[in-house]
């Protein structure tokens, strides 16, 4: 067993000299993402150690082992990749991006690599390769279109996910994400937007008053109620920026008479761990579940947010109990179900303008939340148009994979990442574009602004808020319970 670090001579032979980048450049577009100060010494060695540690404890090895035997380099994924379609730079072909990591795997973790190393001593990981990876992996918006179309079945998204994870272990991760997660896990406020609890309570109170004014009934945001059916967790940014979505959700909840609550200890659905680090992913999921356990909630209800839904839906069972884990549903699933069983009634002619719907990649790609929003929209909008392509084949807004949080690369996102989306929206000529995802909302809003498209971005529940019809019975039950 190797206990010593490699000697300086060995290091000199095996690894190229390092240079210290404060900022890794996106040379082509002059867009940069900021990273925090990190240790630049021995990067290849630390990269490999992190890689090995991850392979040792996680499940990636067998998948990589499978993928390295399949790569045919047919470039079919290029047709699918919105980024490549915008830049036309072969470096952006998903296949090439995957190859960056796969070649490292081949060289440093397989028998063939061992042979190559022993016979020729070439091909080992260098600083340049790490820098290329650092560039490339954050160009991707993790929309996973390439994965669906790969003729040999290589999961480029998984490889990118792993690549970012390893890079983050040696300190190369966008500062915006790292800082947010740090606040969420270790900060005083415990959420990514650093909203203190009093501020949140103020906001909710204000919203309640607003709704009272507008709808004439008491719609409450129940706080810290134990034993509810639903623990509602939206992306925390909604509290700041998408208040109307929250009001819509509250209205729906009120109209359907659900027992629900918002936890005061933890109220942030955002999980940037999904974008850059499985370790953070795990910690955030644990935090989420511990809040649900504290409140003895029966379900976790995630608000309008793609990645928050996906991370909770797929990783709550992974880290917290497998089959017996607490169920996770998306608010749109809930609303649709209520609509179907008649508890929720919407005014069918609320919106007469042209409306289009943007599928957030994280919930639409594997066909999870695809039909539900359409059913809801058709229930109260008269003029709904689809984008092409749509549903599982939709095109990413351009801010996926956490890139939307990196404010410093906004020009890249709106000119390259979102180009295809902008064209799509333009083509529909819609008045409203509905994007039920905090990240998509932010990105598309910026996109519409930068690309100067005459269209309004709006959340699904923002619109529902206007369409909800309250039963007399709900009102009466509610007043009774309030009296009691």
């Amino acid at each position: 067993m190797r206990t010593e670090a490699i000697t300086p001579e060995e290091h000199g032979r095996a690894f190229a000299p390092t240079k210290k980048p404060e900022v890794i450049e996106q040379q082509k577009l002059d867009v940069r993402y900021h990273v925090e100060d990190f240790n630049v010494a021995d990067r290849p060695k630390r990269f490999l150690e992190a890689f090995a540690a991850i392979l040792k404890h996680s499940n990636y090895r067998f998948a990589l082992e499978h993928f390295i035997r399949m790569t045919t380099k047919c470039a079919k994924c290029a047709v699918e990749c919105p980024i490549y379609q915008a830049t036309n730079d072969p470096h952006d072909i998903p296949c090439h991006r995957s190859e960056l990591l796969l070649s490292v795997y081949r060289r440093h973790f397989t028998l063939a690599g061992s042979l190559k190393g022993k016979l020729f001593g070439t091909g080992h990981l260098t600083d340049d390769m790490i820098e290329e990876m650092a560039d490339s992996f954050w160009n991707c918006t993790a929309c996973r279109r390439c994965t669906n179309e790969c003729p040999v079945g290589i999961d480029h998204a998984l490889i990118t996910h792993l690549g970012r994870y390893i890079l983050s272990e040696i300190g190369i991760a966008p500062r915006a994400l790292v800082v947010s997660v740090r606040e969420q896990l270790e900060g005083a406020t415990g959420n990514t937007s650093a909203i203190p609890l009093p501020a949140l309570l103020d906001t909710l109170e204000f919203l309640e008053e607003d709704m009272k004014e507008e709808k004439g009934i008491d719609i409450k945001f129940p706080l810290d109620v134990e034993g509810c059916d639903y623990l509602f967790i939206p992306a925390v940014s909604d509290f700041l920026m998408e208040a109307e979505t929250l009001m819509g959700v509250a209205a729906v909840m009120k109209a359907t008479g659900a027992s629900w609550t918002i936890g005061t200890q933890y109220f942030d659905g955002i999980n940037y761990g999904l974008f850059y680090s499985d370790r953070m992913l795990e910690r955030i999921i644990r935090k989420l579940v511990s809040e649900a356990e504290r409140l003895k909630a029966k379900n976790i209800l995630i608000g309008e947010c793609g990645h928050a839904s996906r991370s909770a839906k797929y990783f709550v069972p992974t880290h917290c109990g497998g089959k017996d884990a607490i169920p996770v549903i998306n608010i749109m699933e809930y609303t649709r179900d209520m609509l179907r069983n008649g508890k929720l009634k919407l005014n069918p002619n609320t919106i007469t303008e042209t409306v289009t719907y943007h599928d957030p990649c994280n919930i639409a790609r594997q066909g999870w939340v695809v039909d539900q929003p359409r059913e809801i929209i058709r229930a109260f909008c008269t003029n709904f148009v689809e984008m092409t392509p749509n549903r599982e084949n939709n095109i990413c807004c351009g801010g996926g994979g956490g890139t939307v949080s990196i404010d410093e690369i906004r020009p890249y996102r709106t000119s390259v990442g979102g180009k295809a989306k902008a064209d799509q929206i333009r083509a529909t000529g819609a008045k409203y574009v509905i994007a039920p995802c905090a990240n998509c909302k932010k990105q598309i809003r910026e996109l519409l602004e930068d690309q100067k498209i005459d269209c309004e971005l709006i959340g699904l529940h923002d619109l529902i808020y206007n369409a909800v019809i309250f039963d007399e019975s709900t009102k009466s039950i509610d007043t009774k319970s309030q009296k009691g």
Binding site: M1, R2, T3, I6, E10, A14, L48, E49, A52, A53, L55, K56, H57, R61, R107, H108, F109, T110, L111, G113, S114, L115, K116, G117, K118, G121, H124
Partner: protein, 618 residues
């Protein structure tokens, strides 16, 4: 590379090579890889795997007797390993038996078909029972690893002493019965080995050498895994078994003396030399090294003593089971494949042994690889900067590769003659190796004619006389390239060859007249073009472009000529007779190592070789 990995790689290689031979044996038959024959029906698998294997596995019952019945607690830590060793030894023997049985899927037949006179019947029953007992004795060890089956484990541990008793009783029986098996061959087995006491000698030697095998195994394991050994205990065990060795030696020598065969030990024949080697390996060297107090505590003398005793026992069993049997017929030397199968079975058993050592608590503690530990850092290989995963994962990758490649090599090195001896389509004529004679076998049934090609070329300088040469530029094709079947006629004219640009490249009109329909019947005759190819005076009639059949070609071409020659050469008047070619003798071209000229048993008498060797001492 650590020692264990190198050792395991070698074992995997051998296993792979042997597995290929094993697969061939099961697919094609014993004859495809083994040199066993009707005179020596039992080969190296009996003499190298089964008899010594069972004897060396005797450590199991001896050790359990010492530990559980005589209550010698100091050896208790070796109880599990000796049971495991015995279990694997018996499994090895059983595998070898299944390999060499003609109908291995009927290996259970002794259970329902009884023949209590047969020592082998008793042996097979005892082996089956004892395997069960050993399994039950050993199975609590792996069960310790899981939380399931706790009841079973506790039950078995509780009634261990019953199993121990059963094990000893059964072992005693069949260790001796293995000796009884050879009582039936009083004249075949060399007198130095044949005695009515064979059963007792077998039992005694198993009791003596079994524990010594255990010592050897412990030494080997500790060397592979770099663990310290408890030499004191091992030496004490050595002393214990050297008493048994002494007993065995004395019984054997006294028996030989009592039968008046003492002089044969020193009569200078090769058998006597082997006897002396055997006795010194099995008895004298261990006695000296383990009996003398000064010597026995050193690790190296333990090594030498145990190794020599084990080899000696193997030699003894091999001698009785094969080497010292008089043979009436082809002598037996094992093929490389038989050896490989033998070794591969043993290698596989050792691999299982190592697996158990690594995974289960065989000694006081489990042998854990520190690299398997969760907390350990991945150890990249220094020179290549590669990390193949934890040792188990890396082993999975590396050993399967080694196994697969050696298996393929194994399949490649088995001679095609042996593999295809059953089903190959043999060509009608074969080149003789290094000679000037063609073996022409029209029926492809191994009986044919040795055709002296050179002599014919000298006599008739023209190749054309015999070789038709249908194909452009063809000067050397043998008859069999076209005449594949003895009686069927063959297409003599290849139209496409003539028309093809890369063939003869002649235009249609060259053969077919311009104004006529292009049919075979209207085309130009062959000899219009091929004037120079047809010898003057030769008449080769081509009927609808079908060349004559093989037999016809041979008979009409050759016999005509020979008849003519018979007239010309007055001293060789029988040249045209059938028997000139169709003699009964022929050289066998398909069988390895056959030097005798065989005659067809169907048509001929058998002549036995005279001057047979006689057995000394009768």
């Amino acid at each position: 590379m650590d020692r264990a990995r190198v050792f395991k790689s070698i074992l995997w290689t051998i296993s792979g090579l042997g597995a290929a031979a094993l697969a061939t044996r099961f697919l094609i038959g014993l004859g495809s890889i083994a040199n066993m024959n009707d005179a020596v029906p039992w080969g190296i698998w009996k003499g190298f795997n089964i008899f010594p294997g069972i004897a060396l596995a005797g450590g199991g019952f001896v050790m359990t007797a010492i530990i559980y019945i005589m209550g010698r607690e100091e050896y208790h830590k070796y109880a599990k390993v000796s049971v495991l060793l015995a279990f694997l030894g018996y499994i090895t023997a059983a595998t070898a038996l299944v390999t060499e049985l003609g109908l291995p899927w009927f290996v259970w037949h002794p259970i329902i078909y009884w023949q209590h006179h047969s020592p082998l019947f008793e042996v097979s029953w005892c082996v089956m029972l004892y395997l069960t007992v050993l399994f039950l004795e050993f199975v609590p060890v792996p069960l310790e690893e899981t939380s399931r089956f706790t009841k079973v484990r506790k039950f078995l541990t509780k009634y261990k002493i019953v199993l121990v008793f059963l094990g000893i009783m059964i072992s005693t029986l069949h260790q001796s019965s293995l000796g009884s098996m050879w009582l039936i061959t009083p004249e075949k087995l060399h007198p130095l080995w044949y005695t009515q006491l064979l059963p007792i000698l077998f039992l005694l030697s198993a009791i003596a050498i079994g524990p010594i095998m255990l010592i050897l195994a412990i030494l080997v394991i500790s060397r592979i895994y770099r663990r310290k050994t408890d030499n004191q205990t091992l030496a004490r065990l050595g002393v214990l078994s050297s008493f048994m060795v002494l007993t065995y030696g004395l019984v054997r020598l006294i028996d030989i003396g009592a039968n008046g065969k003492f002089a044969m030990i020193f009569d200078g024949s090769w058998q006597s030399a082997i006897f002396i080697v055997e006795m010194s390996l099995m008895v004298i060297i261990p006695l000296i090294l383990m009996g003398i107090r000064k010597l026995r505590n050193s690790s190296s003398s333990l090594w030498v003593a145990s190794l020599s005793a084990v080899i000696g026992l193997g030699l003894d069993r091999a001698n009785i089971a094969g080497v010292m049997l008089s043979v009436d017929g082809p002598r037996y030397t094992p093929t490389i494949f038989e050896v490989l199968v033998s070794l591969s079975i043993i290698s596989a058993a050792i691999l299982v042994f190592l697996f158990c050592i690594e995974r289960f608590k065989i000694w006081d503690s489990k042998w854990e690889d520190p690299r398997e530990d969760k907390k350990s850092r991945p150890d990249f290989d220094r020179s290549s900067e590669v990390w193949l995963g934890t040792p188990r994962l890396a082993g999975r990758t590396v050993y399967t590769l080694i196994f697969v490649i050696s298996l393929a090599v194994g399949f490649a090195i088995i001679p095609g003659k042996r593999i295809y001896s059953g089903g190959i389509q043999k060509v009608a004529s074969q080149k003789s190796l290094g000679g000037d004679t063609l073996f022409i076998d029209g029926n492809r049934d191994n009986y044919g004619v040795n055709f002296d090609h050179k002599a014919h070329v000298i006599r008739d300088s023209s190749c054309v006389l015999c070789h038709h040469m249908n194909q452009p530029n063809d000067k050397q094709s043998g008859c069999y390239t076209c005449h594949l079947d003895m009686y069927q006629r063959t297409d003599a004219f290849k139209h496409d060859w003539h028309a093809n640009p890369t063939g003869a490249n002649i235009s249609c009109t060259e053969c077919h007249a311009v104004d006529q329909e292009r049919l075979a019947s209207t085309a130009k005759a062959c000899d219009q073009c091929h004037k120079d190819l047809i010898p003057p005076g030769a008449t080769i009639t081509v009927d609808k472009y079908m060349a004559p059949s093989y037999t016809d070609a041979m008979h009409f071409l050759c016999v005509d000529c020979h008849k003519q020659k018979a007239v010309e050469l007055a001293d060789k008047s029988n040249l045209a007779l059938c028997a000139t070619c169709h003699t009964s003798e022929h050289t066998d071209h398909f069988v390895d190592g056959v030097t005798d000229k065989y005659k067809h048993p169907y048509f001929n008498h058998v002549v036995l070789p005279e001057n047979r060797p006689t057995v000394e001492g009768h």
